[in-house]
Symmetry: C2
């Protein structure tokens, strides 16, 4: 058998060398048929042949424990001895049990050892990714929330430049299940193509055999597996995915998290680039896909993993997305998930503001707050692009109706800031958390995903007067705003919830509460009649409430 194997290996290696030669010397670059060795052996080969008159080797019984030996099966000791002696230990070990020198000589040394081979310990091959200055790719935001842009489209311009800068190193790839265009990475195709090894038709676009975009299979399993392999062999990349369908690889992400956790305990394991997910085409933007395309639970999944492994970012606009992505793509040994918007949406922060905000990961938006130097009456918090829009709209309604109400608006980019610093390295300490969220004022928290994520992260915090809105498994093919209404993350539900907990208003909140209820009925009637959202929502625009401006 050893001879047969050596022969097969020899043949395979010669075939590989011949393919190389044909490619290098004669330019034959069409996809070759690489050799493949198929080794078919009996199950439990070389194990015990028969035990208790039943066939073991070459049968299902050789799985796990081929021969049971315990107090009730002591007679099997002989079978065990015969079996183990069949490997001729006397030819392998000396009388003291040490491996014989000529055997030892045959084991590989140095980088030929399996764990030390740089292709297995891929961090040894890792070259820093070359990245441009992301701030040069920013959207020009002069006023908060007045210009529209597509966050993913903007990111694509930056990614395209990353591809260009690392073209020579060939160590950066983009993985996705046939969704690079759907996920609005269009600009990436300015600098590269989809890798494609088969025939190319003249009606095809964006295909060639040296593209950096791996986009050819609608399989999240393949994308995840390829990216993991790519990272483990010392390269860089990211996986962009419809948010709901990343759940397909839950178990693969788990196993990678376990791998990273254990590697962190092994000093000889070199750092590898982080596993980066961009979750886009997300829950709040499924106009024609509906209920089946709504599952933000990958975040619930990730927060159960070790705190030194997982990082989660929910940038509210393009400039924040650029900042988060630039941070993630340079990091090591993490699993980073970024939830990003792809549809035209309001841009809140200038690049300078975005850099500050993302560096801190969480912060008060002073231009959307009017509690400066004073006790706030309420904290309006938001995390995720759509919740941010709705929270700001709710803030503007509250402010218009109760100009004296002191509102503090907080936005969260780095989700793990919410957890205690005793549990997560990004976590705020309790005093810092209380500085932001107060010890007792009502917090209306509007979240991108399942409310359970927030409940879990803040369960140790003092201020229990928090009321979380998020996805509650409602939805269908409907208008964008109706999706929010069905899950109570819309401005009217937020305002109604705020009014419930604003004791300082006494009973003055009643009429606004009723107005919100009325508006929700009008909304349902309107979308039934017109198939689009009410004007008040479609035409809504932000005004900075900290300025003495005319209220729009």
């Amino acid at each position: 058998m050893h001879e047969k194997m050596a022969e097969a290996m020899e043949k395979a290696i010669l075939t590989i060398k011949a393919i190389w030669k044909r490619a290098r010397e004669y330019g034959e670059t069409r996809r070759p048929r690489w050799p493949l060795i198929i080794l078919r052996t009996p199950k439990g080969w070389t194990g015990p042949k028969e035990v208790e008159e039943k066939m073991i080797e070459n049968s299902f019984r050789s799985h796990q424990v081929p021969v049971m030996i315990d107090d009730n099966h002591i007679e099997n000791l002989g079978v065990l001895e015969t079996w183990l002696r069949s490997y001729h230990p006397e030819e392998l070990f000396d009388d003291d049990g040490h491996v014989l020198p000529d055997i030892k000589e045959q084991t590989p040394n140095g980088y030929r050892r399996m764990g030390a081979n740089p292709h297995a310990n891929g961090g040894l091959l890792l070259k820093n990714l070359r990245t441009p200055d992301f701030t040069e790719f920013g959207v020009d935001v002069k006023e908060h929330g007045h210009v529209l842009a597509q966050d993913m489209m903007e990111l694509g311009k930056y990614v395209s430049e990353v591809v260009r800068l690392n073209e020579n190193n060939k160590n950066f790839r983009i993985f996705g299940p046939d969704e690079a265009l759907s996920n609005r990475l269009n600009y990436v195709f300015d600098s590269t193509n989809r890798q494609w090894e088969c025939d190319i038709l003249n009606t095809d676009e964006y295909l060639n055999n040296s593209g950096r975009v791996i986009d050819s299979y609608l399989s999240e399993h393949l994308c995840e597996g390829w990216l993991e392999g790519y990272l483990l062999t010392g390269r860089h990349g990211f996986f962009h995915c419809y948010e709901a369908f990343i759940r397909v690889v839950d178990s693969m992400a788990s196993q990678h998290a376990k791998w990273l956790k254990v590697c962190n305990q092994l000093p000889w394991r070199a750092d590898i680039a982080s596993l980066n997910y961009i979750l886009t085409s997300h829950i709040w933007q499924q106009d024609h896909n509906g209920f089946t395309h709504q599952d933000p639970g990958f975040l619930n999944h990730l927060i159960t993993k070790k705190a030194d492994i997982t990082r989660i970012y929910l940038p509210p606009d393009a400039n924040c997305l650029l900042s988060c992505f630039d941070h993630c793509i340079k990091s090591r040994n993490y699993i980073n998930a970024i939830v990003a918007s792809k549809h035209p949406s309001f841009q809140w922060l200038s690049m300078d503001e975005a850099v500050k905000h993302c560096t801190l990961g969480i912060g008060v938006w002073d231009w959307a707050s009017n509690d400066k130097g004073e006790e706030p009456d309420i904290v309006m918090a938001c995390c995720g692009d759509t919740p941010t829009l709705e929270t700001l709209a709710a803030v503007s309604i509250l402010h218009r109706n109760f100009p004296d109400l002191k509102i503090r608006t907080i936005n969260v980019v780095d989700l793990m800031r919410l957890q205690s610093n005793s549990e997560h390295p990004h976590g705020l300490d309790d005093l810092s958390y209380d500085m932001l969220f107060t010890k007792d004022k009502p917090i209306i928290f509007n979240f991108h995903g399942y409310p359970s994520v927030i409940h879990e992260l803040i369960h140790r915090r003092h201020n229990k007067n928090i009321h979380v809105h998020g996805y509650i498994e409602e939805g269908t093919i409907t208008t964008p705003f109706d999706m929010r209404v069905q899950n109570h993350i819309d401005r009217y539900h937020l305002v109604m919830d705020a009014l419930k907990y604003l004791d300082c208003l006494g009973n003055r909140g009643g009429s606004l509460y009723q107005k919100c209820l009325d508006r929700l009925v009008e909304h349902k009637e309107y979308i039934k009649d017109y198939g689009m959202d009410i004007e008040e929502v479609r035409n809504w625009k932000w005004y900075d409430i900290d300025k003495d401006e005319e209220i729009i």
Copy 2:
């Protein structure tokens, strides 16, 4: 094309009839080659051929929107009109837009309509499952925690009888990824076999072509898909799985939950049997598999789904497992998950006690409590077989050291009892919850899975003095007790945590606290030297603390 299709259908139907005939009249029962029709069409067939000088039909551009029409593409209106007119609407509709009578005549009626076909609306075909009296399959428990049994092995006896009772109806199946024996359903093979359509070798066991056990593929995807199809066509069954690997089908479970939620809103959809999962070979029993086999997060996943869909049970022993399983297998329109033990373990409740306990879903175990009629000093709560064992061991340590300490021990079988009744139909109302858990006494909660599940479920409850132990992503191939130590769900960590919050002890807890620390060091030393757990743990046995018995 229609003629070609009709021809292919005709040929396929004749082939099927010929196969039936050969089987029924000549007894040919070997797996036949069923006909398969492959229809290969151009992508976007019959759509626009060319738009803006680019090929659409038969190219990737026919995906989603083949021709854009909006303010900037108004010139494409002509393309749209030509395309839609190509279907000859004048031959299909009258001048008022109604379908012409001879067209209407061709549509199917009654049960031939797609949604009304009983194979599509499978609940119409559902026959009640015949089940034996599960109480007759119980383990005889005369004293709490003195007899050992394997919960899954006991359940197998009951399931075997279910197979027998429904043999004629052929409407019950057991699905698993080649793990029926590993998951200890051994007794099922007393009444049936694995279904197997290929050749059977004379060394094979438990195979035939009419078995009710579908166990032939190590693929959770296949098991889940088969079971879903089986239920949707009006049958009954369950899927048993290694707990960690059920994560492979997270996204499939999500979609089934969404399906059930929407069906509940459609009055014409008949009820179907619940999708039942048994998660066994679980996190706390991975002696030789280790870290990769540890992921209890499917419970986190399920609790994000609609409350009227999901039910989760963690029976602490065999009698409770029987009661839970019997309940689940008869239920309709739910997703039930049962976490079950397969290793020899202590049996806590007699069948009478188990029926009561499981009917309530949560309760004080009076035989493990000594607060009767008095204010408890502490609540020791547990959920899951291994946490229950460790909590009882912690209770016995606390009781031995502080006999006057009033301890209340609570066990949770039906996890959703913890959630508020405003959120889940099984949830306890706040007053009932407070009756069990008190409003302010410390609760040391020992949980089978990630602590986040408990944090989420109880986030609205009054008593915030709760300290949850559970899986914190630590583990490797080690002793059973060390797995618990690494994750702090062991008796010593529980006692230490109890001492931290037992203000009534003043500083008297200090010496026991130190003893626990010492014992944990001894444990680490011992398992390193002997490869097994310390005697105190191996030989531990329960004694009822509500009796005036000699303390063991």
